[in-house]
């Protein structure tokens, strides 16, 4: 535990120093912290407060103003659904309903097992491919309810498989658990791309 805090302390010091320990650079600092931790941990905010000599309130005030900043750890997979106008006109609202229904979470939330986060974004700028979603930084264009359903199926199936594997790993004495997870990661990369499908 102390190791972890010490580690965070070092990383934060580096980040803040990279930005000249200047309060003018608060937003870039927060962006770098989020890049490092995938969210803004409460401990990090109090550390920034100490180092920049500003109150946590000020930091929270700035951070909560911008939608980019997150205050809880996101899931292993992140689904972003675009609700830009072009996507909306092409039925993105309905896709969001499907996502909420299948994952049983609201936008901005993460599934209880921490595997999938759902986010809604205002526009990804891929309007010509509307409606679009982004799964782990890969854009899937020209979505339909059916295509989206299949993507969720694959995702949930993978989740199920992983759970199963973890269970097996726990029970048996597998020597190389690392390789096992890598295998799963690789198969994830082969999720059929929505954009190729979309062209037909």
């Amino acid at each position: 535990m102390t190791n972890e805090t010490a580690d965070m302390d070092d990383r934060l010091r580096d980040i803040i120093e990279q930005h000249d320990s200047d309060v003018k650079n608060l937003i870039p600092i927060l962006q770098s912290v989020q890049e490092a931790y995938s969210y803004l941990p409460a401990a990090a905010i109090s550390a920034i407060s100490d180092r920049l000599h500003i109150s946590e309130d000020v930091i929270f005030g700035v951070a909560t103003f911008y939608t980019h900043f997150k205050f809880t750890k996101p899931g292993e997979h992140i689904i972003k659904i675009c609700l830009g106008t072009a996507c909306f006109v092409k039925g993105a609202e309905n896709l969001l309903e499907i996502l909420k229904d299948r994952l049983q979470i609201e936008p901005g939330q993460t599934t209880p097992d921490n595997s999938i986060s759902l986010e809604r974004v205002a526009c990804l700028g891929c309007c010509a491919l509307a409606p679009t979603i982004v799964l782990d930084n890969e854009v899937y264009g020209k979505m339909s309810s059916l295509k989206l359903s299949k993507i969720i199926d694959d995702l949930l199936e993978e989740k199920g498989k992983k759970k199963e594997e973890q269970r097996i790993e726990k029970n048996s004495d597998l020597e190389k658990p690392e390789e096992k997870t890598r295998g799963v990661e690789e198969s994830k990369g082969q999720v059929p791309s929505g954009t190729t499908e979309g062209k037909t």
């Binding site: 309060v23 003018k24 650079n25 608060l26 937003i27 870039p28 927060l30 962006q31 005030g61 700035v62 103003f65 911008y66 939608t67 980019h68 900043f69 609700l83 830009g84 106008t85 072009a86 996507c87 909306f88 006109v89 092409k90 039925g91 609202e93 309905n94 309903e97 499907i98 229904d101 299948r102 974004v121 205002a122 526009c123 990804l124 700028g125 891929c126 309007c127 010509a128 491919l129 509307a130 679009t132 890969e138 854009v139 899937y140 264009g141 339909s144 309810s145 059916l146 359903s149 791309s193 954009t195 190729t196 062209k199």
Partner: protein, 625 residues
């Protein structure tokens, strides 16, 4: 070099794996030992993302679209080696179904006039040399060595260039204000916080031609007397940010940025500031607050940024497209620029044409072009035999125009008269399947969410309007609500601090003005003619058409579809009748998966409005629309 294969690497095409096409092409070329004859060049967005990935064979201009990595071998073997173009990858005109080979013959491009997007798709955005070949930084050289600062501002003023960020303020005058403001330290900012949902021209410009924006910025910096600049860019645009970083580095190496630029004694450097996701930061004073590390809230003007902006110093802010235009004006002169466009607005406009349109992408036309020409001649009209309903310009701050407005021209004044705005250039086309009430609700929900909360009319007023629209959408509205909407809209327009609030009611006002009957239908008949508003529609399965296959039932996420599909009635004629499926409206969540699951030849499921009254045997009704 006999052939140059330009592979589009914009965000759109990259999401369709265009980088794999580059790899495949390089491999094929290497295998055949053709490296000396063919160059594979990375380019930015061609603006026709919908047909991506795009590969253009230069210098002849053969346009291949929808290319896949597997096509690489055929392209090299047939086109490069055999001299026979690959016809199946040509663009097919959606109207005439004619296959078109050359870039220049495709109606989508033929009718455009590209000034701002002049280099997009033609040059390698990651290679300054390519920009230099295309007159890159020539305008900067001319400005620094042949022109005075006043001369530059005069030229820009004379050209009639107006800010392309949305407001259309004359650029030259803006520069003059900042130049004349007192103080030695001044700042130059490029506003690349393209927040309008449905607009992506700034992103494409930055991704495809970052140097033209840098060049415009350096010239502007010189003219106003700024030594330092910022590019405020959305963090949602990682590729644009990456290419800007590369461009800035290369420009520094070549001496276009830094100390004593081109030995003129002028020092200028710039840095990138990534936005953090706040629409209101597109507003000048909010953007400045954000660069200073504060909450991005606008404040009242005066003082204008030209007098007191970033860190309290005189600051000039221009949009990406405005800056990308500047080098051309400096090189070709004000008269050349002012000869293009309409009486009111000179030059060209870039639109992101999207929505229910056949050819979706970036369109640049002279100001004064009619909406009809953009939507039907360039955009190819509405797909799937549907009818045009409305076109929305100006994003959430703009308005929806009906069919009668199609012959209006696009420029700042004409669109303003029609009740909408030019905005940054989003143009979203809607067909009969789009519900106007729902669209008004959507835009308002956007501005409501993005309202910074500083002033009450915007913060509270938009919330009230949104609640009313929500009620109407659910069929719970009253006719009095429509008057209430208009009254609230007036207050918000007149009492809000910044443009976000002042323009937020536009989508509601224009839809009320042009599509009032649809609001009334929702209120009085509980009917949504576009079959969109979920509270007012039901899904039904036609007994005659259903073949009992059960595809819908397997897909239904809530188990709302009953019926077994087993043979129920062997008729005397020997034909068997299968039990059809029925949807229970109480369980149905109206997600539409069943319609997609129903085999295309069968199409037994449709939507009806008003919703079928809540009885257990619903669904057998025949009032399909």
């Amino acid at each position: 070099m006999k052939f140059i294969l330009c592979v589009c690497q914009g965000t759109g095409c990259m999401s369709s794996s265009s980088h794999k096409i580059t790899e495949a092409l390089l491999r094929e070329i290497k295998e055949r030992g053709l490296e000396k004859d063919v160059e594979v060049k990375l380019t930015g967005c061609h603006g026709f993302c919908q047909r991506g990935p795009i590969v253009v064979v230069e210098p002849e201009g053969t346009f291949y679209c929808g290319v896949e990595p597997a096509d690489a071998a055929e392209m090299v073997e047939e086109h490069i080696v055999g001299g026979r173009a690959v016809e199946r990858l040509f663009y097919t005109d959606p109207v005439t179904e004619e296959k078109i080979r050359y870039y220049r013959d495709i109606p989508f491009y033929r009718e455009q006039q590209r000034l701002i997007l002049r280099n997009c798709g033609h040059i390698n955005p990651e290679d300054i040399e390519d920009y230099l070949i295309h007159e890159g930084y020539e305008a900067l050289r001319k400005a620094l060595t042949e022109m005075t600062q006043e001369g530059i501002i005069r030229e820009i003023t004379k050209s009639g260039l107006r800010g392309r960020g949305g407001a259309g303020f004359p650029t030259g005058i803006k520069w003059k204000f900042c130049r004349e403001a007192e103080g030695h330290e001044k700042y130059m900012i490029c506003n690349a916080d393209e927040g309008d949902p449905g607009a992506f021209m700034d992103r494409s410009t930055l991704e495809a031609d970052p140097h033209s924006v840098l060049e415009g910025m350096i010239i502007a910096g010189y003219a106003i007397g700024a030594g330092h600049g910022y590019i405020y860019v959305r963090t949602e645009y990682p590729l644009a940010i990456l290419r800007l970083h590369i461009a800035i580095r290369q420009a520094r190496e070549k001496g276009f940025l830094g100390k004593d630029i081109l030995e003129s004694g002028f020092d200028f450097d710039l840095e990138i500031m990534e936005g953090a996701g706040a629409f209101v930061c597109g507003e000048e004073t909010a953007l400045i607050a954000s660069i200073m590390g504060e909450r991005g809230m606008p404040h009242s003007r005066p003082p204008f940024p030209a007098q007191k902006g970033l860190w309290g110093k005189p600051t000039n802010i221009n949009n990406v497209k405005t800056l990308a235009t500047v080098p051309s004006i400096i090189l070709k002169g004000a008269e050349w620029y002012s000869s293009i466009g309409s009486e009111d607005t000179k030059g060209t406009a870039v639109f992101a044409l999207t929505g229910k349109i056949r050819n979706s992408g970036l369109v640049e036309v002279p100001m004064g072009t009619t909406l009809r020409k953009i939507i039907f001649d360039i955009g190819g009209g509405i797909p799937d035999g549907k009818r045009f309903k409305a076109v929305q310009t100006g994003g959430p701050s703009g308005g929806c125009l009906p069919e009668e407005a199609l012959d209006f021209i696009v420029d700042f004044e004409s669109l303003k008269k029609a009740g909408t705005i030019m905005g940054s250039g989003g143009m979203i086309v809607m067909d009969e399947d789009t519900c106007i009430v729902n669209i008004a609700h959507y835009f308002l929900s956007f501005t409501q969410e993005e309202s910074c909360g500083k002033c009450a009319p915007c913060r509270i007023g938009t919330k009230q309007m949104l609640d009313i629209l929500g009620r109407i959408k659910e069929g719970k509205g009253t006719m009095k609500d429509l008057d209430e909407l208009a009254a609230l809209a007036w207050t918000i327009q007149n009492a809000s601090l910044c443009a976000l609030g002042q323009t937020a009611p536009n989508p509601v006002l224009t839809t009320l003005r042009y599509f009032r009957e649809e609001f009334e239908e929702h209120i009085q008949e509980k009917r949504c003619r576009a079959l969109v508003c979920k509270s007012l529609i039901s899904y039904v399965i036609s007994e005659e058409k259903c073949i009992g296959c059960g595809a819908c039932q397997r897909r239904c996420p809530t188990g709302a579809i009953s019926g077994s599909g087993r043979t129920v009635k062997p008729t005397t004629k020997g034909k068997s009748v299968r039990e059809t499926r029925v949807i229970d409206p109480k369980i149905c969540v109206r997600c539409g998966l069943c319609i997609e699951a129903c085999p295309p030849k069968v199409r037994a499921i449709s939507k009806v409005s008003p919703a079928i009254p809540d009885t257990s045997n619903a669904g057998s009704g025949g009032e399909t629309s």
